[in-house]
């Protein structure tokens, strides 16, 4: 038996989630050595798939935002192009934006992609909404242009340039979604229908920043959404493959237990749970600052400012997903849409409150993948996944012996709500079933309380000030940057990839500065 000696790395990335994978590629592309550590035996974190019988389920991706077509690429396709993975993946376009159903006001609206089509459809549902909808999209366009400018100067924006070129962006920039829509005098029903995407960001529209929501909506509606054919596992393995091509190392089943520091609080290495030490001076953490400052760094290495800044933040939604493999086709079952949002109420703030408790939460974002990609399961079958979130730690009250029954109760409620609201009877067609609870998410990805959305982007901690304070936040802990759902861009697939892109490139910048 031969043995090789351990080597030191310019950068160690902790966690092979969407952010960590992207960051590792950026570090390698910058010409530095990189080791990617992952506690699970697969890359991707939530971006994975799993098999049950005849079905391969998508673990989490509903649709990839801001992707666009090959000829009119969105920011994420462009990023994938730069990373060298766009062509490693077979993409399929999602056919329509969303199908909104609310129990209280009986909305049943199918919204298309494309700004004009979206406005026309809204005018059908809510006569008189055209003017405010048109202004909404104009405003969103300005938001997008301002963000493009901000990115082009790495966040170091010129205040006068901003004021002269993007005055509406700045004037709307400190307000919530609902405050802006009210100011646009948008009819209430149109607001209700337009706000359907809010659960993708996990903050009600009274507290969700307009800039955040508007920039997401415009990216969905103008650049439509896409999916990899082989589920998000295809993206994760493409990124894994790319890292290997670039000479990077990936260690699976290798959980980072601590980040080591010297007496000056400078990072010196990473220690695994089995005691193995890897020397490095730069860490990109694809995990929660709560874990890094609360557990992974020695107490002596953690400053009061870090503790206060971490304690100040609020965990976002804890995830729950039901996966069903059905032994009838979507057509036979009458399931027409790819992507349903079903809410108890169109009032997002009230809905958010109902989501605090397991027993009062009946929200679901539900996907029937066959309606975007018919071949995703065998002929005569279809696959569905139903996702919700709990906006508190209520799931922590479930006891070990009640665990399996508690999962079944939520799953059964999801089926009941879907059948009641769509009229599609699916129960008897269940051939395979799997349930992921907050416990499952905590198990696979280690996130506190089973959180899937990082820190809540509400009120003071909204996207814009986070982006504007990127440098300042990173300065709190030199040598350490964050990627993934807890990082500056907040959660969601596209955001996690972008955060990995930013932190990876910024770490390359740190290394270059050091070399000078």
């Amino acid at each position: 038996m031969e043995k090789q000696s351990a080597k030191r790395y310019d950068v160690v990335v902790i966690g092979a989630g969407n952010g960590g994978l992207t960051a590792a590629i950026r570090v390698l592309q910058g010409g530095y050595s990189c080791l990617l550590l992952e506690k699970h035996n697969l890359p991707g974190g939530f971006a994975t798939s799993f098999k049950r019988g005849r079905f391969e389920f998508e673990a989490s991706l509903h649709e990839l935002n801001d992707f666009g077509s090959p000829t009119e690429p969105g920011d994420i396709r462009t990023l994938f192009r730069d990373l060298g993975v766009e062509d490693k993946i077979d993409w399929v376009r999602i056919p329509e934006a969303y199908h909104l159903i609310t129990t209280d006001k009986k909305y049943d609206c199918e919204m298309p992609f494309g700004v004009e089509a979206f406005i026309d459809k809204m005018e059908q549902y809510v006569p008189g909404s055209r003017k405010s909808m048109t202004e909404f999209f104009q405003l969103c366009n300005e938001v997008r242009d301002a963000q493009t400018y901000s990115n082009s100067v790495n966040g170091n924006t010129d205040s006068d340039y901003m004021k002269s070129h993007f005055p509406n962006f700045i004037k709307a920039g400190s307000y919530s979604v609902n405050e802006v829509l009210d100011a646009l005098k948008m009819p209430k029903a149109a607001q209700d229908i337009l706000n359907a995407y809010w659960c993708y960001l996990g903050v009600d529209c009274d507290r969700l920043s307009f800039l955040h929501y508007g920039s997401m909506v415009i990216r969905y509606i103008t650049r439509d959404a896409w999916m990899p054919k082989m589920r998000s596992h295809e993206i994760s393995l493409a990124l894994d493959t790319r890292i290997r091509e670039l000479g990077g190392d990936i260690w699976y089943h290798s959980e980072a237990a601590s980040i080591l520091t010297d007496e000056n609080r400078a990072i010196t290495g990473v220690q695994l749970t089995d005691g193995t030490v890897i020397e490095t001076r730069h860490v990109i953490a694809n995990c929660a600052p709560h874990l890094v400052f609360g557990k992974m760094l020695d107490k002596k290495a953690v400053t009061e400012a870090q503790v206060r800044a971490t304690n100040a933040r609020t965990f976002a939604g804890r995830g729950f997903t039901l996966f069903l493999g059905l032994n009838k086709s979507a057509e036979e079952l009458g399931i027409k849409s790819h992507n349903y949002f079903i809410y108890d109420t169109a009032d997002t703030a009230r809905q958010y409150d109902l989501m605090r408790k397991v027993s009062t939460n009946h929200v679901q974002a539900t996907v029937c993948l066959n309606n975007a990609y018919p071949e995703c399961s065998p002929a005569g079958t279809c696959m569905m996944y139903f996702t919700t979130m709990f906006m508190s730690d209520d799931w922590g009250n479930v006891s070990e012996t009640d665990y399996f029954k508690a999962k079944d109760r939520v799953a059964e409620d999801m089926i009941t709500v879907f059948e009641r609201e769509t009229g599609c009877k699916i129960r008897d067609a269940i051939e395979e079933i799997a349930v992921a609870s907050p416990t499952t998410y905590a198990r696979y990805c280690g996130h506190p309380e089973g959180v899937i959305y990082g820190y809540e982007t509400a009120d003071w901690d909204s996207l814009m000030p986070r982006m504007m304070m990127m440098k300042e936040d990173a300065a709190l802990c030199p040598g350490l940057r964050f990627a993934g759902g807890y990082a500056m861009r907040s959660s969601g697939y596209s955001s996690a990839y972008v955060s990995g892109d930013l932190s990876g490139r910024q770490t390359v910048g740190d290394l270059k500065k050091e070399a000078q």
Binding site: M1, E2, Q4, K7, N41, S49, K51, E56, E135, P167, N168, I170, K171, G173, S174, Y175, M230, R231, H233, E234, S236, L237, R244, Y252, H253, D274, T276, F293, G294, K295, V307, R308, A309, T310, N311, A312, R318, N327, D393, N397, V398, E400, T401, K405, D408, A411, E412, I430, E431, E432, I433, T439, T440, R443, P448, E449, G450, W460, M468, E472
Partner: protein
């Protein structure tokens, strides 16, 4: 357009400039109390999914001339995780210099697990099982994976009545399922057909009879080589099962040797049951039949270490690694659980027929499950460390 929220647009502009100072202030005003080191949901995840457990044999009991029951307790914790009756664990030990492991269905109940008790009924079936059957004794230490597997009742999927068919050591998950039903953690009506050559080869008969007397299940013993009163004679045919249940309105759970699955499948074929009506427990992937098998070189990367071991074409890559003393992750040894997921770096291979449990993208990007993969040339793979 000219967006305005307040009467004077510059007021809106001013608000924007406050975003950063507000956030800066909020971050600085967070509590200075220590950050949590534990979270309830994560503690529960750890209790339910402890990963690899250290265990010790606390009792050994002969069940039949071919089957032994081993009882274990955890030495690294006070309880086994609560699990779903029907699931399995993989037991790992060292025998004659080789690292060996095999999956076994749990025969004790989920409630017993909480009292730090877990039992396995082990039948003579190969190297490790033979060893466990004859040589394991009280005090012996092993490693054990956490309970796993999808061979269990699903309340929202399965029919109220389940028809279980056991052959040989395939009885073990059903004993656990009957106990769990009695303990109130499951809600099915259980009808068990238990096939064996003769009465002497029925393991756990006294326990099953006692559970049946308490109403936890109905059990029908089916003897192929012996005629006895109170027992059915022959094989577990559709005709026989139809005497006891409406076969169109049940979910079947099968656990036993491959030949039994083939027989039952043929028996049930005329009923045209949907796929979902029949659940089968996975069986371990064994050696492949090859005349004069060739031996190749298998190069294994584990983190920054490189090992080379001989690999016979009739044995799985996992077995070759174990023979060479390499600890590679594995659980189901049937191609399905994905725990041994490894990167293929080069060399031709074969996947055992009907056992390719890989995801579509695994095949596209060159990943394999060594537990069901046979080498056809010198091979090189990148394997995660066992733990």
């Amino acid at each position: 357009m000219n967006f305005k929220k307040q009467i004077f647009g510059f007021m809106d502009m001013l608000r924007f400039t406050k975003l950063v100072p507000n956030r800066r202030q909020a971050l600085a005003s967070g509590a200075d109390t220590p950050l949590p080191r534990h979270y309830r949901v994560n503690e529960m995840a750890k209790a339910l999914h402890p990963g690899r457990m250290e265990v010790e044999v606390t009792a050994v009991r002969a069940l039949t001339d071919r089957m032994t029951e081993l009882t274990f307790r955890r030495t690294d914790a006070d309880a086994f995780p609560f699990f779903r009756a029907g699931q399995y664990v993989s037991l790992q030990g060292s025998v004659e210099g080789s690292v060996v492991s095999r999956p076994y269905s749990i025969s004790s109940s989920p409630r017993e697990a909480l009292e730090n008790k877990l039992t396995l009924g082990i039948e003579d079936a190969g190297f490790f099982s033979d060893y466990l059957n004859r040589q394991a004794k009280v005090g012996d230490r092993f490693l054990m994976t956490e309970p796993a597997g999808e061979f269990h009742y699903e309340t929202l999927r399965d029919k109220k009545q389940i028809v279980c068919v056991a052959g040989g050591s395939g009885i073990t998950p059903f004993l656990s399922m009957a106990k769990s039903r009695k303990e109130g953690d499951e809600s099915y009506e259980m009808l068990l057909f238990y096939g064996a050559r003769d009465e002497a080869h029925l393991a756990y008969k006294a326990e099953l009879d006692a559970l049946a007397a308490e109403g936890a299940l109905k059990v029908v013993y089916v003897l192929s080589d012996e005629t006895r009163e109170g027992y059915e004679h022959g094989f577990v045919s559709a005709e026989l099962m139809a005497k006891y249940a409406d076969l169109q309105n049940v979910t079947f759970f099968l656990c036993g040797p491959a030949a039994m699955y083939a027989f039952i499948q043929k028996e049930l074929a005329p009923l045209n049951l949907p796929v979902k009506a029949v659940r089968k427990d996975a069986t371990c992937c064994g050696a492949r039949n090859v005349e004069n098998p060739r031996t190749f070189t298998l190069t294994v990367h584990i983190r920054d270490k490189v090992y080379t071991v001989p690999a016979r074409e009739d044995e799985t890559l996992l077995v070759s690694m174990e023979r060479g003393g390499i600890q590679a992750p594995n659980k189901c040894r049937a191609g399905g659980c994905g725990y041994c997921h490894s990167k293929w770096l080069g060399g031709d291979y074969l996947v055992a027929e009907g056992r390719d449990g890989r995801r579509a993208a695994d095949r596209k990007f060159g990943f394999i499950h060594p537990c069901v993969t046979y080498p056809q040339a010198d091979m090189e793979i990148d394997v995660p460390p066992a733990e």
